[in-house]
C-alpha cells in the first residue's frame, strides 16, 4: 500500500505511540501555518529526527498544503451583483408587504376586540343585570319627575302670591324704599367728592 505509506509514513525501527502521532499531526498543522512557537518547533524537529516515518508523513502534508494553496479562488458568475440587486428589491417588497399585513392584522384585531368587548358587555348587562338596570332607569326617571314637579309647584305658588294686593303693596313699598335709600346714598357720595376737591386752608393762606 504505497499510497498509505506516503501519507501515513513508513520505515523506521521505532514506532511512535498513537498519542505521539496525534501530537505530531497537530505540530505539522501549526508548522504549515508557521504558527508553532519555539517549544513546539523544537518538539516537532525532535519527532522528525526520532521517527523517519514522520518525515514521509510531513512531506505528504506539505505537498497537500501546497496543492491547496495553489487552487485559485472560485470566481462568482458574471452578473452576480445585478441578480443580487433584483433579489434585494424583491425581498424589500416582500418585507414591506408582510409589514403591511402585520400592521393591518393588528389594527383589525384591536378594532374587533373593542367592538366585541362593547357588544359583549352590553349583552351581559342586558341579560344578567336587567333588574338592576331597570331599577336604575326607574330611579332616574322618578328623580327627574320629582324635580320637575317641585319646580312647577314652586313657580305656581309664586305666581299666586304675586297676584294678591298685600304682596303687591309690599313690593311697591320695597321699591320706593330702595329708591329713597339709593338717592340718599348718591347725595352723600356727591358731597364727599365736592369736599375733596376744595383747596386746603393752608394753601389758601
Amino acid at each position: 500500500m504505497e499510497a498509505k505509506k506516503f501519507i501515513q509514513g513508513s520505515g523506521g525501527r521505532h514506532r511512535p505511540t498513537p498519542e505521539q502521532e496525534e501530537e505530531f499531526m497537530l505540530l505539522m498543522s501549526l508548522s504549515l501555518d508557521n504558527l508553532a512557537d519555539a517549544g513546539e518547533a523544537a518538539q516537532f524537529e525532535d519527532y522528525l529526527t526520532r521517527y523517519p516515518t514522520f518525515v514521509t508523513q510531513w512531506q505528504g502534508w506539505q505537498r497537500l498544503h501546497q496543492q491547496f494553496a495553489a487552487i485559485p479562488h472560485a470566481e462568482p458568475p458574471v452578473g452576480f451583483v445585478d441578480r443580487f440587486e433584483v433579489r434585494l428589491i424583491q425581498q424589500e417588497r416582500r418585507r414591506r408587504l408582510w409589514l403591511g399585513v402585520l400592521i393591518g392584522s393588528v389594527t383589525f384585531l384591536l378594532w374587533a376586540s373593542v367592538v366585541v368587548g362593547v357588544f359583549s358587555m352590553g349583552t351581559y348587562l342586558f341579560t344578567n343585570q336587567g333588574s338592576w338596570l331597570s331599577a336604575l332607569v326607574q330611579n332616574l326617571t322618578y328623580s327627574w319627575v320629582n324635580l320637575m314637579q317641585w319646580v312647577s309647584t314652586g313657580w305656581e305658588t309664586f305666581v299666586i302670591f304675586a297676584g294678591t294686593p298685600q304682596a303687591q303693596a309690599i313690593g311697591v313699598g320695597y321699591l320706593l324704599m330702595s329708591v329713597v335709600l339709593l338717592g340718599g346714598w348718591l347725595t352723600v357720595l356727591r358731597r364727599s367728592l365736592h369736599l375733596q376737591e376744595l383747596p386746603s386752608p393752608a394753601t389758601v393762606a
Binding site: 499510497a3 498509505k4 504549515l32 497537500l64 462568482p76 451583483v81 434585494l88
Partner: protein, 218 residues
C-alpha cells in the same frame, strides 16, 4: 482592515442606501462566493447561497459592529447558512463522479494540458473537501483561500482560537486520510485524463493524489 471607502459604504448602507450596499457586494462577492462554493460544491447552489448571505447581511446590517472586519462578519453569516443547507441535504451524497466541478471539466473545447491537469486536481481536491465534515471544511477554506488568521476564523465560526487549531489539524488529517483511502481504492485515471496525469508526472509539480496514482501505475 477595511478601507475608509468601505466604512462610508457600510454607514450609508446602515441608513438604508441600497446603492452603497451593492458596492459592498461588488467588493466582497469573490470571497463570499468562494466560501459558499467550497462549502457546497455546486456553482448554482453557491451563487444562491452567496446571494442569500448578502441578503441576510443587509437585513441585519444594524447589528454589524464596525470594530470588527466586515469580511469576517460576512463569512460568519455565509458559514452558518452553508451549514444549514448541508444539514438539509444530508441525506444526499455527491460522489466524485457527480461532482459539478468535475462535470464542468468535461467539455470538448481544447485546453492546454497544464490547465486541464490543474483544474482536474483542483476538482479532485474540491471533491475531497466536500467529503469533510462541514465544521472542518470552513476553517480550511478560510485559511487557504481567504488567508484568515486563526483569530479571524475563530470569530467567523464562533469558536476559540485553540478550537480552530484543533479543527484545522483534524481537517488536514481527514483530508490526508481521504487521500490515502481514495488512492488505495480508486484505479488510475482512465480515458482521456490518464495520459495527461501520467504524462505530466515528470514535469509538473505533483500533488499527493497524482503521486500515489503514479505509484499504482508503475
Amino acid at each position: 482592515m477595511m478601507s475608509e471607502q468601505e466604512e462610508v459604504w457600510i454607514r450609508e448602507a446602515q441608513t438604508g442606501s441600497k446603492r452603497s450596499f451593492s458596492r459592498l457586494v461588488e467588493a466582497y462577492q469573490r470571497p463570499v462566493y468562494n466560501l459558499t462554493y467550497r462549502m457546497l460544491g455546486s456553482p448554482e447552489e453557491a451563487e444562491d447561497a452567496a446571494q442569500e448571505t448578502f441578503l441576510r447581511a443587509y437585513a441585519r446590517l444594524e447589528q454589524y459592529d464596525v470594530n470588527h472586519k466586515f469580511s469576517t462578519w460576512l463569512f460568519s453569516i455565509a458559514n452558518h447558512h452553508c451549514i444549514d443547507r448541508l444539514r438539509k441535504r444530508r441525506a444526499k451524497y455527491v460522489s466524485i463522479d457527480d461532482n459539478p466541478v468535475l462535470e464542468n471539466l468535461e467539455h470538448d473545447s481544447p485546453q492546454p494540458e497544464e490547465d486541464l491537469l490543474n483544474q482536474e486536481l483542483a476538482a479532485e481536491l474540491q471533491a475531497l473537501l466536500g467529503k469533510l465534515d462541514p465544521d472542518y471544511r470552513t476553517p480550511l477554506v478560510l485559511r487557504y483561500w481567504e488567508d484568515c488568521s486563526y483569530e479571524e476564523i475563530a470569530e467567523s465560526m464562533g469558536l476559540t482560537v485553540s478550537a480552530v487549531k484543533s479543527r484545522l489539524f483534524r481537517a488536514r488529517k481527514q483530508i490526508a486520510d481521504l487521500y490515502a483511502n481514495q488512492a488505495a481504492t480508486t484505479p488510475p485515471l482512465s480515458g482521456k485524463r490518464e495520459p495527461v496525469a501520467v504524462g505530466r508526472r515528470e514535469t509538473v509539480p505533483q500533488g499527493p493524489l497524482l503521486f500515489w496514482r503514479a505509484s499504482f501505475a508503475t
